[in-house]
C-alpha cells in the first residue's frame, strides 16, 4: 500500500500538467478534433483495454465517458457508447505511474489526468490521431468489482436443458413404439 502511494506521488510530482495546456473533454476531441491539432491539451479519463508496449512507447486507450467513473457492471447507468481516444506514453512516464491493469470486465481502470500534444491526422503515423502524452497524474487507481452469479437464471437454464432431454427421450420412446 505504501509503495503504491509513493508511486502515485512520484507520478503526481514528476508530471504536473503545464499551466498553458487547454483542458478539454474527450468528446470535444472526437467531435471537433482539427482546431486543437498541435495544441497542448489536458484530458481526464479511464485507461482501458490493453497497455500496448512497442518501441519506446506505450499505447493505451483513454475513455472520457461516464463509465469511467462508474462502469455498467458496477451500477453505472446506460448513457451511450464509449468515448475513447488513443494515448501514446513515453515508456519512462508510463512506468513511473506504475499502473497495475487497464480497465475491462470487472475492472474500472486507472483514472488519469494526462497532458500532451494533440496530434490530429499525424502525417508521420499515416494519418492517425492521438495524444502524445508528456505528463500524467493518477486521480484514482484501478478498482475491481464483481458481478454475482444470478442463481435463478442458471437454474432456469439447467431446468430447460433437463426439459429438452425429457422431450427428446419421450419422442424417441414414441418413435420406438410406433415402429412396425
Amino acid at each position: 500500500m505504501i509503495k503504491r502511494i509513493a508511486l502515485a506521488l512520484v507520478a503526481l510530482v514528476g508530471s504536473a500538467s503545464p499551466a498553458f495546456a487547454v483542458e478539454v473533454d474527450v468528446a470535444v476531441l472526437l467531435v471537433d478534433p482539427a482546431p486543437l491539432d498541435g495544441a497542448e491539451v489536458t484530458v481526464e479519463g479511464e485507461l482501458i483495454g490493453d497497455f500496448m508496449r512497442r518501441d519506446e512507447w506505450v499505447w493505451v486507450q483513454l475513455n472520457g465517458d461516464p463509465y469511467a467513473s462508474e462502469p455498467l457492471g458496477e451500477g453505472g447507468e446506460l448513457v451511450g457508447p464509449n468515448l475513447g481516444i488513443a494515448l501514446r506514453f513515453p515508456i519512462a512516464v508510463f512506468d513511473a505511474a506504475a499502473f497495475e491493469s487497464p480497465g475491462g470486465y470487472g475492472v474500472r481502470g486507472p483514472v488519469v489526468r494526462v497532458t500532451g500534444e494533440w496530434r490530429y491526422h499525424d502525417e508521420e503515423r499515416g494519418g492517425e490521431s492521438y495524444l502524445a502524452v508528456t505528463s500524467v497524474e493518477v486521480l484514482e487507481r484501478e478498482r475491481r468489482f464483481d458481478a454475482p452469479l444470478p442463481v435463478g437464471v442458471l437454474l432456469t437454464g439447467l431446468g430447460l436443458i433437463a426439459v429438452s432431454g425429457l422431450i427428446h427421450a419421450a419422442s424417441r420412446r414414441r418413435s420406438a413404439s410406433d415402429a412396425p
Partner: protein, 498 residues
C-alpha cells in the same frame, strides 16, 4: 388458388428448425466454456439459459416427427427465413441479461447484426463487456457468415439440403453434393481460422505490443469479424484501437478472403488461377474496387483531411476496402466518418452498396449481379445500334462459358432493383426521423448491405421504428430477399388459402 399449408407442412418446418436449433445449441456451448474458464459467472448463467432455450426448441421441433423428413422448395425457404429470426432472438438472451442494452430490442438488434455479419451495434460500454460476451458477438459473425444452415448441413445429412443451401443465398455448388460443398466451405473456413488467428496473434505481439494471451483474444475476435466480413470489434474504437498499419494490413487480407466466393477459393486451392481472372465477377469486383478507391482517395484529398500521401492512401484504402468487402471496420471515429462528404462519401457508400462476391460472406448487391447488369445494358445498347439482323452474343465467363438467358437477366435485374429499393426505404425512414439525407442514406446502405460502417445514427437512443427498419434490412439483405418473400407467401397462404 392458394393452398393452405396443413399440419404436415408445419411438422416438416418444425422438424428442420429443431435440428438447426440443436446445432446452434451445440455451438453455444463454446461461450459457456469460455465464460466458465474466464470465471465470468454472470454471463455464464445467461449462456446456460440460452443453451437451454435452444435445446428446448430443438427437442420440441424434432419431436414433431413429420411422415417424411424431406423439404420441398417452399419449406426450405421458410426454414431458412425463420432460422435467421429465431437464432438472433434466442441468441440475444445473454446480451439482454448483460445490462449493456437498454431493452430486449436493442439486444436483438446486436444479435441480428452479428448473425447477418453487419456489424452495426447499439451496445453500450463495450470496453467493460465480459470477454465471453464479446466472444459470443463475434462467434455470431462466424455462424452467420459461414451460414448456420451450412453448419447444420455439414453435420447431418437429410432430404432438402439443396433448398436450404439456396435459401441462405448461396448458389455455388463446388461439388455435386450440397453436403460435400458445405463441408468444403467449413474446411476452407477452419483453415483460414487457424492461419488467420496465428498471423493476427503474431502481428499483435510483435507490431502492436499486446501480451500473448490478449493477442490471441484480439486475433480470434478480429479474425471472426474480418473473415466473415462482420465488423464488430473487441474495443469501442474498432481497428483504430491498434494504431498499427501492419495489423490493418493483416486484417485487410482476411477481409478480401472473406469477400471472395467459395468457388473462387476452390479454384485457387486447385491452382486454376487463369480461369479466375477471366471470370466476369472477378473482373467486375476489381473494376468497381478500383473505381470506388479512386473516388474515395480523390474525395479525401479534396477535403484536405490528410496532409501526407501515406495517410491519405492508408485511410482511403482501408475504408473503401472495408466498405466494399462489407466488413465495416473503421480506423476513425464515426463522428469523423460523418465529415467525409462529397466524393469520399460517394466512394465509400457506393462500395458498401456493391458488396463482395456472390456466395461469399459479404453482403451488398454482389459483383456478379453488377457485372451481369452492365452486360445486359451493354447488350441492349449494342442491339439497338447494330443492324436488325445482327445477333449479339449473350455469353460470359464465370467458372466456364455461360449464356446469359432472359430468365437469368430478369432475376439479376429484379434482385438488384430490390436492393436499391431496400436502401431507399431505410434512407426514407431515417430522413423521416430528421437525419440529413447523406447520413440517412449512408446508414441505410450500411444496414441493407450488411456492412456496419456508421456515421452515428445507430446508437442506443435511436427511434424504435428506425431500429426495426435496420433489422429488417439486415435480414432481407443477408438472405437476398427470396427466403423472406417465401416466408411471407407461406404465412399469407396460411391465412388466405383454402
Amino acid at each position: 388458388m392458394l393452398l393452405r399449408p396443413d399440419g404436415e407442412d408445419a411438422r416438416v418446418i418444425a422438424f428442420f428448425l429443431g435440428r438447426i436449433c440443436y446445432v446452434v445449441a451445440a455451438a453455444s456451448l463454446l461461450p459457456v466454456a469460455w465464460a466458465g474458464i474466464a470465471g465470468e459467472w454472470h454471463p455464464f448463467a445467461s449462456f446456460v439459459l440460452m443453451v437451454g432455450v435452444f435445446a428446448v426448441f430443438g427437442a420440441a421441433g424434432t419431436a414433431a416427427r413429420p411422415r417424411q423428413a424431406r423439404l420441398d422448395w417452399s419449406h426450405g425457404m421458410v426454414v431458412v427465413a425463420l432460422t435467421w429470426l429465431i437464432v438472433p432472438l434466442i441468441g440475444s438472451i445473454p446480451f439482454a441479461l448483460s445490462g449493456h442494452f437498454a431493452d430486449p430490442l436493442d439486444a436483438m438488434f446486436d444479435a441480428m447484426s452479428g448473425l447477418t455479419t453487419t456489424g452495426l451495434s447499439v451496445l453500450q460500454d463495450l470496453d467493460h463487456l465480459a470477454s465471453s460476451l464479446n466472444f459470443w458477438r463475434h462467434l455470431l459473425h462466424f455462424l452467420g457468415g459461414q451460414g448456420i444452415v451450412i453448419a447444420a448441413l455439414s453435420l447431418f445429412a437429410g432430404g432438402g439440403g439443396l433448398t436450404l443451401y439456396y435459401g441462405e443465398a448461396r448458389d455455388d455448388r463446388i461439388f455435386p453434393s450440397v453436403i460435400s460443398t458445405a463441408r468444403f466451405i467449413w474446411a476452407v473456413s477452419l483453415a483460414h481460422l487457424v492461419f488467420g488467428v496465428l498471423v493476427l496473434m503474431v502481428v499483435g505481439i510483435l507490431a502492436v505490443g499486446l501480451e500473448p494471451a490478449r493477442a490471441l483474444f484480439h486475433g480470434l475476435l478480429v479474425f471472426f469479424a474480418a473473415f466473415d466480413t462482420g465488423g464488430f470489434a473487441p474495443q469501442s474504437t474498432s481497428l483504430g484501437y491498434y494504431h498499427s498499419v501492419y495489423f490493418e494490413a493483416a486484417t485487410a487480407i482476411l477481409m478480401v478472403a472473406g469477400a471472395m466466393s467459395f468457388g473462387l477459393h476452390f479454384a485457387l486451392w486447385r491452382r486454376r488461377r487463369v480461369g479466375v481472372l477471366r471470370n466476369l465477377e472477378t473482373r467486375t469486383i476489381l473494376a468497381t474496387f478500383s473505381g470506388t478507391l479512386i473516388l474515395g482517395i480523390v474525395g479525401l484529398g479534396a477535403l484536405g483531411l490528410y496532409n501526407g500521401v501515406f495517410g491519405l492512401a492508408r485511410q482511403g484504402l482501408f475504408h473503401v476496402l472495408s466498405a466494399h468487402t462489407g466488413t465495416g471496420f473503421a480506423t476513425v471515429p464515426s463522428s469523423e466518418l460523418a465529415m467525409w462528404g462529397g466524393l469520399a462519401f460517394g466512394g465509400v457508400a457506393i462500395a458498401m452498396a456493391l458488396g463482395g462476391m456472390a456466395s461469399s460472406t459479404a453482403g451488398g448487391v454482389k459483383s456478379l449481379r453488377i457485372g451481369l447488369t452492365i452486360k445486359v445494358l451493354r447488350d441492349q445498347v449494342r442491339q439497338v445500334l447494330l443492324p436488325e439482323q445482327a445477333v449479339v452474343s449473350r455469353r460470359y465467363h464465370q467458372g466456364g462459358a455461360r449464356t446469359l438467358t432472359p430468365a437469368v437477366a430478369q432475376a439479376v435485374l429484379a434482385v438488384s432493383l430490390l436492393y436499391v429499393a431496400l436502401f431507399l426505404l431505410g434512407a426514407g425512414v431515417g430522413i423521416a426521423y430528421g437525419a440529413p439525407l447523406e447520413a440517412a442514406l449512408f446508414e441505410s446502405v450500411s444496414a441493407g448491405g450488411n456492412v456496419g460502417l456508421s456515421v452515428g445514427l445507430t446508437d442506443g437512443s435511436m427511434p424504435v421504428l428506425l431500429q426495426i427498419t435496420y433489422m429488417a434490412q439486415m435480414w432481407l439483405g443477408r438472405l437476398e430477399f427470396v427466403a423472406v418473400f417465401a416466408l411471407v407467401g407461406f404465412l399469407w397462404s396460411w391465412v388466405r388459402g383454402r
